[in-house]
């Protein structure tokens, strides 16, 4: 069995790998630390890929599977050191495997276990090799373990962090296939890849599997790879076939190999597994020999479904991590790029390639995303949105460069970026451009284009939500009479407001009306004097009242409005003796139980 290892410190997005503490054996040099980890212990993971060409036209989508060991992770510097120690001691995982018995660890090997609460009791969820040799196993209670070995080192398992790490790794594996998803079944962690149509990009299926294997060897992860026509059999082979350690690929004709696998490979619940074991049905082949009706009657329809899935008779979808866009190119960099300045030319090449493809299709993009793949399993992305659909590489490069400059502080290039992927996420057929010979119209078209490009540049710089178009709404209530939409999403509407309303509205409206004290004629006269922000104003001229009644939301539409209902507003536009203008309203009427309130809603 190989020594399990999970270099989660290399998979943290923001911090990146750090030099190891020399006191703990690391020389502070990243490559040697990586080598050291490789020498010290190998990670256990299983990878399964499948090929649609082998499925024989059953319609099943091929799937690939990658399993990574279950490891807890902490979020502190202390953890990083302890992670290094664990690395040398051997990572604890749910499934133990020693890759090479000749790879002796250095220094003292400490037994280490991960624990988690199961039904109110702390139980061991993973053990490392020394702990395994001491006789500790998964499922034992922590109390039992401490009774045997009081000094045993324990760490609380963090499943959420492990899932996040798995997701990050799955993101990185999109470089092999866009149809990629993490998959967790119980304590088994895996990554599914659908490599249909991808293998030729790597020179064939064998080369693709070898490339995946090499990548994980570089990380220090020992990959178990299984390639099968469908998801179920790939998962089964990866976890339960010994040959997956070195990689195995089976076709439609080889599906009989599945029959020799244990029933746990069918991914059923524990109770069903126990029932099958109790009847001596401990292999998939034995269950397959039973008539389907009997299987359903005896063990339930889920068992038959599990059997059909593992044998490829029932389709099982992979839910990809990211939306798959049809317009995507990858640009492989022969050497890794370590600086932001180096990224820009490579990004420009990728954008040109993508735009060439869009031009050939007669399409333009509205959103473009660039993903940068680091050599050590981290991916970071930038995205830009254009206000007009276009396929000009200069425009897209300018927008994406703005985003890159803004995100540069958050990016850690680590050991370098070796792959750039450009995707056009929202594409449309390009409309024919309007060319007008009339100079006035041409000037208007040019200025409209200039505004669009300005909106794009500013959106890339400060965010699309800060570049706004005002869209009038048909609503009498002033604060509801307009909405703000991002300029890049506005479709160039030419709505306007009726003139008689526009002349009665102020140019500036407060978000929240400010309460004031006012003296006014009863019952519904204009204010004569009011106190606003500790200053007293005498009204000289006014226009109003304009009565606006907000609709009742909960009561029936025919219900009478009570006299003091604060849903009635009487608006006045007033000018004071000094010449300042305000937009006031009174909420409610005089003469009732509750005194009406006056507010300033705007000015100018």
């Amino acid at each position: 069995m190989s020594l399990p290892f999970w270099p989660t410190d290399r998979l943290y997005f923001k911090t990146g790998p750090k030099a190891h503490n020399p006191a703990e054996g690391g020389k502070g040099d990243r490559p040697s630390a990586l080598v050291r980890r490789t020498r010290v212990g190998m990670s256990v993971s299983e990878l399964a890929v499948s090929d649609k060409n082998r499925e024989g036209g059953k319609g099943d989508r091929p799937s690939a599977l990658f399993q990574v060991p279950f490891v807890s992770s902490e979020k502190s510097a202390t953890f990083r050191h302890s992670l290094v120690r664990r690395t040398r001691a051997g990572m604890s995982v749910s499934e133990l495997a020693v890759s090479d018995k000749n790879r002796v660890t250095e220094g003292g090997l400490h037994p280490l276990i991960l624990t988690k609460s199961v039904k109110g009791a702390k139980r061991i969820s993973a053990v490392n090799l020394p702990a395994h040799k001491l006789g500790l196993a998964m499922g034992q209670t922590l109390t039992h373990a401490r009774a045997l070995f009081p000094d045993i080192k324990t760490i609380e398992a963090d499943e959420k962090a492990d899932e996040q790490d798995l997701t990050k790794l799955a993101h990185w594996m999109i470089r092999f296939s866009p149809h990629c998803a993490p998959y967790i079944f119980g304590s088994k962690y895996a990554i599914l890849l659908d490599i249909t149509g991808c293998e030729h990009l790597f020179g064939g299926e064998a080369q693709l599997l070898a490339a995946i294997s090499q990548c994980f060897a570089r990380f220090g992860i020992y990959a178990r790879i299984a390639c099968a026509p469908n998801k179920g059999s790939a998962w089964a082979m990866a976890f339960y076939d010994r040959r997956a350690k070195t990689g195995i690929s089976i076709g439609v004709d080889d599906l009989s190999l599945i029959d020799d696998l244990p029933i746990e490979a069918m991914r059923m619940d524990g109770k069903t597994n126990d029932n099958l074991h109790a009847l001596g049905l401990n292999k998939i082949g034995k269950v397959a020999q039973i008539a389907p009706n009997s299987v359903v009657r005896r063990f339930g329809p889920e068992t038959l479904q599990a059997l059909n899935r593992v044998r490829g008779r029932e389709a099982e979808a992979i839910n990809p991590l990211r939306e798959i866009s049809p317009n995507k190119i990858t640009h492989q960099i022969p050497h890794s790029i370590l600086t932001q300045e180096g990224l820009e030319p490579a990004m420009q090449v990728a954008i040109r390639k993508l735009c060439r493809e869009l031009v050939q299709k007669g399409q333009g993009a509205k959103i473009m995303r660039i993903s940068f793949f680091r050599v050590d399993g981290v991916v970071f992305e930038i995205k830009a949105t254009a206000s007009l659909v276009n396929n000009k590489p200069e425009t897209w490069f300018m927008l994406l460069k703005e985003r890159l400059d803004i995100e540069a502080d958050k990016m850690d290039l680590g050991f370098g970026v070796d792959l750039i992927c450009a995707e056009a996420q929202l594409t449309e057929r390009l409309q024919a451009q309007v060319v007008d010979l009339d100079p006035l119209s041409a000037a208007a078209i040019q200025s409209a284009e200039a505004v669009h490009m300005l909106a794009e540049r500013l959106s890339a710089r400060i965010g699309a939500k800060n570049i706004i178009r005002l869209r009038p709404q048909e609503n009498w209530v002033p604060e509801h009479a307009q909405t703000r939409i991002p300029a890049i999403d506005s479709a160039g509407e030419n709505k306007s407001i009726p003139e008689f309303i526009a002349k009665r509205r102020p140019p500036f409206l407060l978000n929240r009306p400010e309460n004031i004290q006012a003296i006014a004629e009863v019952p519904d006269g204009p204010p004569r004097q009011f106190l606003f922000r500790s200053l007293s104003f005498k009204v000289k001229s006014f226009v109003g009242p304009e009565r606006i009644i907000e609709p009742l939301l909960s009561k029936s539409p025919n219900a009478e409005m009570p006299i003091n209902s604060h849903k009635i507003r009487d608006y006045y536009q007033v000018e004071t003796q000094s010449g300042a203008r305000f937009f006031l309203f009174r909420s409610g009427f005089y003469g009732g139980d509750i005194a009406p309130k006056w507010y300033v809603h705007g000015g100018g």
Binding site: L440, A443, A444, Q446, S447, E449, A450, V451, L454, R457, L458, R461, I462, N466, I467, I468, R469, L470, R471, P472, P478, A481, Q482, R484, A487, E493, N494, K495, S496, I497, E499, I501, A502, K503, R504, R505, P506, P507, F508, L509, L510, N511, R528, L535, V539, K540, S541, F542, V543, Q573, V574, E575, Q577, S578, G579, A580, R581, G602, G603, G604
Partner: protein, 267 residues
């Protein structure tokens, strides 16, 4: 009254900048990069009108006059957009939004600016504010640019100069509305101090009592020209007609009795 020294200095500056006449009362020899505001005496004082590709700075005369200054800025933009194509780009400041409210499309339409011609930029930090206003000022094809400058987002010398260059590249009238407490530099071609003024009363209202409320007239402002590169300083009263969407000076009642004329001047 301006001193003779200042007048002579201005003449020499005008001649250096290529204005043959160099006289501040005549704008016959300007390079044509002005848009008239609609008020002839005001435009004459500005040597033609509001300059294109140059910065016009507006300052309130008091804290409460900020809202009047903003409405004058909108009125000025409305008058300019009647004569120019392109959109109005407003770079707002959180200070003004908090004090006097957000830009309201219906109210701007009352000043002749249709909603689809407004692009609102709301930067959240000083660096973004200054880079956005430079970017906007340097863009060709815009109708007008209105920037609201608070005390927090004021310009230093370098930033002010960069903005001036950007405005000259863009070619649109660039109007900066500064808060009352704003400090900072501004390479303004024209600086105006704005104060509110009561609207003109209708004829029938001129003999009514003080405590009688009047109907609302056109918005009116007191304008003091504090600095004008090619023009002269002075005091003006301008009002905005929302029938013609233009700035104008209130007509003078020349054919009325002296009593009414005195009253009209003092009102």
């Amino acid at each position: 009254m301006r001193t003779q020294t200042v007048i002579e200095l201005q003449k020499s500056i005008n001649s250096i900048e290529g204005y043959k006449n160099g006289h501040s009362d005549s704008y016959a020899n300007n390079d044509g990069n002005f848009i008239p505001s609609g008020a002839p005496r005001f435009d004459a004082a500005l040597f033609g009108g509001i300059a294109l590709g140059k910065i016009t700075e507006l300052k309130p005369d008091a804290y409460l006059s900020e809202v009047s200054m903003l409405s004058f800025a909108i009125a000025l933009c409305g008058a300019l957009l009647q004569k120019r194509s392109g959109d109005l780009v407003i770079i707002s400041d959180p200070y003004f939004t908090q004090e006097w409210g957000e830009v309201y499309a219906a109210g701007l339409q009352g000043f002749g600016i249709l909603p689809h011609r407004i692009l609102l930029v709301t930067p959240q930090s000083r660096e973004h504010f200054q880079s956005c206003i430079r970017e906007v000022a340097g863009t060709n094809g815009l109708g007008a640019v209105l920037g609201m400058v608070s005390a927090k987002n004021g310009f230093d010398l370098t930033a002010a100069r960069k903005l001036q260059f950007a405005a000259s590249q863009g070619g649109a009238p660039c109007i900066l509305a500064s808060a009352h407490r704003a400090v900072g530099f501004c390479c303004a071609h024209l600086r105006l101090k704005i104060g509110p003024r009561q609207a003109r009363l209708p004829d029938w209202a001129q003999t009514t009592q003080e405590n009688v409320l009047m109907p609302l007239g056109f918005a009116r402002w007191n304008i003091d020209i504090e600095k004008s590169r090619q023009g002269s300083i002075g005091h003006f009263e301008l009002e905005f007609s929302n029938e013609t969407y233009n700035l104008c000076e209130p007509p003078f009642l020349a054919n009325r009795s002296a009593l009414f004329q005195d009253w009209a001047k003092s009102a």
